[in-house]
């Protein structure tokens, strides 16, 4: 604000963005204090979709909680299940067969690609371009078809089990995935020409809503948000789990910290995921997909464990405390969207309303994951 405008009597007004608003992608409400179109303060109000997921995890047995994990972040349901399953396996000391680990990586990476494709389309809708959404949906549908043929569901997969996965993948799946990799690789130049290079898109994203690495650290932001601010934080590299260390892939990092950097990180991650998929399909071993001797009613010994996975939106963590019974004593879910949203209040100050919505879109929020 310059000196001149400050001397005039300034009046701010409160704008309720949500809970029903086209840009919030769910029941998120943001109380904006606005000075004209400039945002002075933005207070996210969450909890409209609270389902007590953590308490549910403490009230039902380990196996019965499995379907719930797919309903946290329903756009990338594999990762939630992966985190929970790995945590229980660590607690109960179950070894997973190698083939099952490979299948887990393959399905999880397919889900990551699907999630990022959905995000690209939804982000463009936030910016007012509707057509890219339909193109990305076309590609995403092919992934969902593949996953549906294997897991039986298109969104809430519930595919992993303690000690493996519930169904083996077949040759059709392998061939279909290879075909899809080739197909998506041929589509990527189209996306870059249609979206990335588009001058209007660049003007809406470049140098808009810059988030510094410091702010990211302060608020615990993870995933593409922190990688778009120049920090190469990726659980798959730093605390490798499953069979990720066997694959050769890069962690895309862009130092700019603006919406464009977050967009580019996700576009590059799609390509890196395709690389992982290719290597995983090449190295896919035979053998069982389920560990033997997994008791039907799991009673892990007393203990406490924490397990991180790299979800499509950031670090998804599960903390489990067992008291030796068939139910968890404490379940804590660390959802990436919650931490990423907490940035919003700090970073949206002084932004124009459309820029703030670009920032909100670039954080890639899934509201049920925040509300849990």
């Amino acid at each position: 604000m310059t000196q001149g405008t400050q001397s005039i009597h300034r009046e701010t007004f409160v704008l309720n963005l949500g809970p029903q608003h086209p840009a919030t992608h769910g029941v998120l409400r943001i109380k904006l204090t606005m000075d004209g179109e400039y945002i002075e303060d933005a207070e996210p109000v969450i909890g409209y979709g609270h389902r007590m997921q953590e308490k549910m995890g403490e009230n039902r047995s380990y196996a019965k909680y499995l379907p719930n994990t797919a309903r946290l972040d329903y756009v990338a349901a594999m990762f939630n299940t992966h985190g929970y399953v790995c945590a229980v396996e660590r607690l109960a000391g179950i070894a997973v067969p190698e083939r099952a680990e490979f299948i887990r990586v393959i399905t999880a990476e397919l889900n990551r690609v699907a999630s990022h494709l959905l995000w690209v389309g939804a982000f463009l809708v936030d910016l007012g371009g509707f057509t890219p959404l339909l193109y990305t949906f076309d590609d995403r549908e092919q992934i969902l078809d593949l996953l549906e043929a294997t897991t039986g569901a298109r969104l809430t997969f519930c595919y992993y089990r303690f000690g493996g996965v519930c169904n083996d993948i077949d040759d059709d799946f392998v061939a279909g995935t290879r075909k899809f990799i080739a197909h998506l690789r041929s589509r990527m130049p189209m996306y870059h020409a249609f979206i990335t290079k588009n001058i209007i898109f660049r003007k809406r994203c470049e140098e808009i809503a810059v988030i510094s690495a410091e702010t990211c650290r302060k608020f615990g932001a993870t995933g593409p948000v922190i990688r778009g601010s120049g920090v190469a934080y990726d659980v798959r590299k730093l605390e490798p789990y499953s069979v990720y260390p066997r694959f050769n892939f890069n962690v895309p990092v862009y130092p700019e910290g603006d919406c464009m950097a977050r967009y580019r990180v996700r576009m590059d991650e799609i390509e890196e995921s395709l690389r992982i998929l290719e290597q995983a399909l090449d190295q896919l071993p035979g053998g069982p997909v389920m560990a033997e001797k997994v008791p039907r009613i799991l009673k892990p010994a007393k203990g406490d464990c924490y397990f991180n996975v790299e979800s499509a939106r950031g670090t998804f963590g599960v903390r489990l405390v067992s008291d030796g019974t068939d139910k968890a004593y404490r379940l804590k879910l660390r959802s990436p969207c919650f931490s990423n949203l907490s940035l919003f209040q700090e970073c949206s100050r002084g932004l124009l309303l459309p820029d703030a919505l670009a920032l909100l879109g670039s954080l890639d929020l899934v509201i049920p994951d925040i509300d849990r």
């Binding site: 086209p22 910016l127 509707f130 057509t131």
Partner: protein
């Protein structure tokens, strides 16, 4: 005793007004269908196809739905202005159509200042939209009202500068005469009139961009930005209140595209010098309308300051260069 010619003129004009309103409404109906069918082609889907063959009766269903809805008025609304605004938006759009020569014979009024009339009427709809947004007593609509004024002022300047250069070249404001000067094949059209100004194609592009912004079309639909302002200035309108805004939006597109056809693309003249007539005008008009829809579904929305920067930093200087160049060329070769 009233002379008979005056009675006939009144009857003729009444028929024309009815016809023009019907034309505007028909265009709104079928352009809105095109607005759903054309992007369906781009987006690898079918679009509406249930109502009537190939969905051709979809606009009828939409219209019936809008008409049967209640016009809700919120508490705190300035009711008079709220109800006046849609009328203030639709009337100027139809008035503009009255002046436009669709062919040598089909034209409601042939007045010597037709060009001026179109641009004065077309700037009134901004006022209507602003009033509608402001009277709605809704924060989103108020933001939209502020946006629409800033945007239209910014884009009227380059638009008029382009037109002034054209008037300098054609020496007339009569739309009939402007079209007559472009008689013959397509190299006689104003858009290729290089002897007047080598920048003519650029100025056509300028005109088209400004026309998009004036008609508040994507990528410049700042006052309706649905992902930011829900529905912008129309947020509180329901039923035919919204319907009138909707018709006016498409009427404005038709007016803008007609003006582009008249001023730059030779009006009713055939590109190959054959059979001039109404059909050529309509073909050119709907090709331009297709381009308007095409642009909308290809790009994201611009940011507001980018929009103003584009106008003040690029379009207005270019329009000035065009104006000066035209003046110099006319002085030397004219």
């Amino acid at each position: 005793m009233i002379p008979q010619e005056i009675i006939w003129e009144v009857v003729r004009l009444t028929l024309y007004v009815v016809g023009l309103i019907a034309f505007a409404a028909f265009n709104a109906a079928y352009l809105s269908l095109a607005e759903r069918k054309v992007p369906a082609l781009f987006q690898l889907r079918y679009g509406p196809k249930e109502v009537g063959p190939y969905g051709l009766l979809q606009p009828v269903a939409d219209g019936l739905k809008l008409m049967s809805k209640q016009l809700l008025v919120q508490d705190g609304t300035d009711v008079f202005l709220f109800k006046l605004a849609p009328v203030m938006v639709i009337v100027p759009a139809v008035m503009c159509l009255a002046v436009i020569p669709f062919s040598e014979t089909v034209s409601a009024r042939n007045i010597s200042l037709g060009l001026l009339a179109v641009f004065s009427f077309s700037s009134v709809h901004v006022l209507g939209t602003m009033l509608g947004g402001w009277a709605s007593y809704n924060k989103y609509a108020s933001i939209a009202a502020a946006r629409v004024v800033a945007q239209n002022i910014a884009y009227e300047i380059p638009l008029l500068l382009v037109v002034v250069a054209l008037v300098m070249a054609t020496h007339t404001c009569n739309l009939h005469e402007i079209v007559d000067q472009q008689a013959g094949a397509f190299w006689h059209w104003n858009v290729f009139r290089f002897q007047v100004s080598p920048l003519m194609p650029v100025s056509f592009l300028l005109f088209f961009i400004c026309m998009l912004a004036e008609a508040n079309r994507a990528p410049f639909d700042m006052y309706e930005a649905e992902s930011e302002l829900v529905a912008g200035a129309f947020t509180e309108y329901s039923g035919m209140g919204f319907g009138l805004f909707f018709i006016a939006e498409y009427a404005n597109i038709v007016v803008g595209c007609s003006m582009a056809t008249v001023l730059f693309l030779g009006g009713w003249h055939c590109p190959f010098g054959l059979l001039p007539g109404l059909h050529w005008f309509l073909i050119k008009l709907y090709v331009l309308c297709f381009c308007v829809i095409w642009v909308r579904w290809s790009f994201p929305r611009t940011q507001f300051y980018t929009l103003l920067n584009l106008s003040w930093k690029l379009l207005i200087p270019l329009a000035f260069i065009n104006l000066v160049l035209t003046a110099v060329m006319l002085k030397i070769f004219g």
